[in-house]
Symmetry: C2
Subunit: 361 residues, 2 copies
């Protein structure tokens, strides 16, 4: 039975990448040593790191005045790092409350003593559409605007950024990083945990514009952008294996044609599922069509019992990890970059069959 | 040619563990999914995490009133986490300056606004012996005493802890974790980056006594012991693969007979090298014998040129990563748990041959 894994992250990696990791696990680049064992100060790893940076730069069109850094600690680590490094003038940030992870980013900043203004929220309609900036908002009182580009749990995405004049835009791209094209120049800071579109859990990419990087007092070293820039992400031991694996995924994405090609495939994959859901009498997705995510698609029968039956039948069928997040319920299919078109089609076929075999009434 | 890797970390893993990872990489525990892809909320990963905790508890004899936590960020992350979580009464910590990493721990605490008293230092003799607590030091003015149990760069180790009455003992065990026996009850906090004796880089073990864990204001979530205790290290996505690999190393160590058996092997391995060095006319180790590390052994010919020749010849011979740390120079062999006796013997044989073939004068 072919297994498909629709987990929201950690999530599916390309089969060819897993095969390559497996093949070269005992001896990376013919060294006789496993990538799990090599020193982060070795030329072997230096090459892995530089390749990953160069490939990411090419794939996203990252301008020369941006730094590419590799941190640990995931998006949650960056919820602290972003205000600590960037909110040093006004100690005040603006937020669009587009869902769980946007709120969590705001909570972390508040916990650390920063002021957070939630400029708009769609909480009242269960985040089924995206909040937008109120007209004539004065950006100059904020150090930055925090935007969650893709809302993993709720299934929405800003396909173009909200722009607040006179302030920096900070984008959490964790769940649609490299899944659709964005213009890096629109942002002062982009960050993304690897474990959705880029690689295994354990590394977090930070892309930050040079003029925003400066020495900060009383900041833990592991969150210090200025230090990581100075040390090229090698102040202490980095997560060698997750960076190596991410590097292989970047090469896979380049071979496939890059981010714009990937976006077309993702539009096709998600289109298969959205089209099915929109015509179904049993299943539905409640997100405003223009705000729908390409990567995370929540849906439901409207009945908790029936949803649970679907999840169980899908699991028996090799379609794994379809349970929706506990805050939303229902089902959720994550169709990240590594999910092949066949995986989206297999899910649609299964749901279609389930519906035909379980007509209500 | 058989390759031996003497790197100081990331470092050698057991061959059998690398083989097992390789074999089950496409399908962990028969799931049809790679361990690189599974959700951290899956029962698959829950079992991996619980097994790792239970095995570590058994191996170290960790009492029930200690928590076992998995962080990201390495020892450097804990240099911040320890004072932020534990130095909340006096905001003052005591330190024995036994080398580079002890000093770095102190620097990080100072950077974060804590007061650090260096109670003793052996910097003046190039850290070739260990500093000890001055008599009649008043421990009650400190929140804790920070001790680097094994000094990776300098090649020394406290085989029994220095104890300061009326204060907590915090131990950085990064480079001899599970390599020799310690009594967990002597410590309030033990931490260790995995990438020396436990697994690949990317996970940091924290063992903390329950009464030291309490809510802390203005602490980044990724450094918050209280939060990690409440969430069983799953507040956000943990480094799944490094935890999985560490779990396999723990089972390997149990099969081998546990930490006391490992210590005997490590004493044998390091003994082979120390005995050779102590009789050699060409090579020497300058560390006070009772303070010598079991895991990190620096040595030198006394000549930078000759040291470089030895390193080059060793590399040609498949004996890798023997260059000493830049702050010490010379050579360093790290003989961590996963280094077999044959690896220590191969190094001794090589050095012996080199000496015989390159008599001075």
């Amino acid at each position: 039975m072919k297994i498909y894994n629709y987990a929201a992250g950690p999530a599916k990696l390309p089969d060819s990448v897993i095969k390559q990791i497996q093949e070269e696990l005992p001896s990376v680049h013919g060294s006789g040593m496993s990538v799990l064992e090599i020193s982060h100060r070795s030329s072997l790893f230096e090459n892995i790191l530089e390749d990953a940076k160069n490939d990411l730069k090419e794939l996203m069109g990252i301008p020369d005045n941006y730094h590419i850094l590799f941190f640990q600690g995931g998006g949650t680590g960056q919820f602290a790092a972003a205000p600590l490094n960037l909110a040093t003038n006004n100690h005040k940030i603006a937020l669009l409350d587009s869902g769980h992870w946007a709120a969590r980013a705001g909570d972390e900043a508040v916990k650390l003593g920063f002021e957070v203004d939630t400029l708009a929220s769609t909480k009242d309609n269960h985040y089924q559409s995206l909040p937008h900036l109120p007209k004539d908002t004065n950006g100059s009182v904020y150090d930055y605007l925090h935007l969650t580009m893709n809302n993993t749990i709720e299934g929405t995405a800003y396909h173009t950024p909200e722009k607040l004049p006179n302030t920096t835009l900070v984008a959490d791209m964790s769940s649609n990083f490299l899944a659709e094209t964005y213009n890096v120049n629109d942002y002062g800071l982009i960050f993304a945990g690897a474990q959705k579109n880029l690689g295994p859990a354990g590394v977090t990419v930070v892309i930050v514009r040079d003029d925003l990087v400066h020495p900060v007092e009383k900041i833990p070293s592991m969150l210090d952008y200025n230090l990581f820039v100075k040390k090229n992400s090698l102040y202490n031991t980095p997560p060698v294996f997750p960076i190596y694996a991410a590097g292989l995924v970047l090469k896979w994405l380049k071979d496939l044609g890059g981010v714009s090609e990937m976006q077309k495939i993702n539009e096709h994959k998600s289109g298969l599922l959205y089209d099915f859901l929109d015509q179904s009498q049993m299943f539905s997705n409640h997100i405003k069509p223009s705000d729908r995510s390409l990567t995370n698609i929540p849906f439901t029968t409207g009945s908790d019992d029936l949803d649970a039956q679907v999840i169980k039948a899908a699991t028996d069928h090799g379609l794994m990890s379809l349970k929706g997040h506990r805050s939303v319920g229902g089902l959720r299919a994550s169709l990240y970059n590594a999910m092949p078109v066949e995986g989206a089609q297999a899910l649609v076929d299964f749901l279609d069959n389930f519906e035909k075999n379980n007509k209500r009434g």
